[in-house]
Symmetry: C2
Subunit: 182 residues, 2 copies
Amino acid sequence: MDYESLIRSIPDWPKAGVVFKDITPVVGNPEALRASVSELADHFKDYGVTKVIGAEARGFIFGAPVACKLKAGFVPSRKPGKLPWKTISVTYDLEYGTDTLQIHQDAVGPDDVVLIVDDLMATGGTAYADALLAKKAGAKIAGFGFLMELDSLHGREKLTEEGLGEYEVFSLVHVTDGGEEG
Amino acid sequence: MDYESLIRSIPDWPKAGVVFKDITPVVGNPEALRASVSELADHFKDYGVTKVIGAEARGFIFGAPVACKLKAGFVPSRKPGKLPWKTISVTYDLEYGTDTLQIHQDAVGPDDVVLIVDDLMATGGTAYADALLAKKAGAKIAGFGFLMELDSLHGREKLTEEGLGEYEVFSLVHVTDGGEEG
């Protein structure tokens, strides 16, 4: 499916010089929503995925339906102060600054195989943090699935850097002109 | 399915006197996630739903998979400053204070039939705002679907109050002891 024609480029947002890739027309299109979720789930259907982690907030939009499709549970990773119970945390680098993500302590465990899903991989910081959260919880990692990857920011290299391991990274769309946090 | 046994009650969160209902164990459970999404979608399968609106951020977790299941598009409603393109806005009352939600101007139109989905209905303020956004965009409303409804806060009455109309309100779990914004 031609997802790229549905992605809207917004110049100078959220700040000057950044071309934001707006995925709301993709998820607003019934066929594109279903096709993208199916393609992401199908790619990882033989990995034994038990949990899908998606980062606040747009990661929920793809993560939850991919989890449904894989017959896995969905685990929201959230900014500090958002999850009400006991959490584990990871602080990570963004394209501009740092941020912290948390999951509940009982959300993922040593018996889990985790797929990390997000709408977009830019620098890979968010996905890397999700993977570290899964590792901290003792889980195995199946890989990473994205609607869109901003190739020029080399997030893929970050996700295979020393200490994390070699994992499958799968993106439905590769974009060369965008820049954004995450 | 017994969703209620999976919902975790957190006393005094986010503030003293509030019993927060944590739905992360429901979505983290593969069977409960799939069953709840299926039940919500099945209930509205004959309403001709073309778009599902879900409010930031937990509304995305149920809204996106319900949209997939109904072969509808998903429309995120978000806090100000989060959507990158032209928006329409509604300001609404919470249990404690007010808030504003926005959708993109082209997300919903006069040909759409909108289902509003969220994890939780408390006072009904968030769902009411989502409905007003759909109306402002000229769409028809199919109804409201929630995992959980806090009956003691009478949100259901707010959703049928004068000016909005009579719509189907469907919740999988009814809770009497919780209190929370939204």
